[in-house]
Symmetry: C2
Subunit: 120 residues, 2 copies
DNA sequence: GACAATACCTAGCAGTTCTAGGTATAGTGC
DNA sequence: GCACTATACCTAGAACTGCTAGGTATTGTC
């Protein structure tokens, strides 16, 4: 998977995951791998700076928590803000513009070579 | 439109345009604006280095031509190669993976705010 | 006591795109 | 003949940014 595509999808992907409910870094990492069938292969070093940026931009708020079994490792949970939801909606719109343009082109090409398509 | 998204879509967009038939820089620029309803706003300085890279990678071949009215300005026409078609197919597949992941997330969100959706 | 999994963090390198500036021809209006 | 716009292409290197690589620490388990 090329870097630029990974980079461009990172923010909407994480905001989208947070829109499902608050979550913490390590779990987000697993969720991304799951969503992309392991094709994205993020490292934690890629994710944490992104989470910090979302926080800096006001798109998410962070809070330290300890899971119920009080002995466990503390986690930093991120919760999406209203501003973050708006940003996500805008980015979603932009993706639609791009994918629309690409689909106009691919429309007349041979059928897609993808393994699993339209799984929604 | 954020830079990273523009950058990530540039190569598949141009390869897609070339898959319609050979074309030259200035006209590709117009086609991109048309396809994106003017939202992409590429400059020629962005396009030419990309075309050169496609050529260097063997995804396209270039040839100077003068349009039929022999007085006109010469143009450098690019034609997609077989290798370029394969690259396009692969990138198309990758986009499908990403958009699939995003759609999984957006699936349960509020309806898309996009102006014109699914125009295919 | 050693290893793996969980969990988080950051400096600064590395890699790239795009900005800004350049060249040149054809056509149009005056 | 002159000025302006549209057409048409090119490139160096600044500017930006993401990621690599390395670091800390706890819990469980063999």
């Amino acid at each position: 998977m090329p870097k630029d595509l990974v980079a461009a999808s990172a923010t909407p992907l994480v905001l989208g995951i947070l829109s499902e409910g608050e979550n913490y870094g390590y779990a987000i990492l697993k969720r991304v791998n799951q969503l992309s069938s392991g094709e994205l292969e993020w490292t934690d070093g890629m994710l944490y700076p992104l989470l910090h940026r979302l926080e800096r931009l006001g798109y998410a708020e962070a809070a330290w928590k300890v899971p119920s079994g009080s002995r466990a490792r503390r986690r930093k949970y991120y919760r999406i803000t209203e501003s973050g939801r708006q940003a996500l909606a805008e980015q979603r719109r932009q993706w639609t513009v791009i994918t629309g343009a690409l689909q106009d082109l691919w429309h007349e090409m041979s059928p897609p070579p993808s393994p699993a398509l339209l799984k929604g």
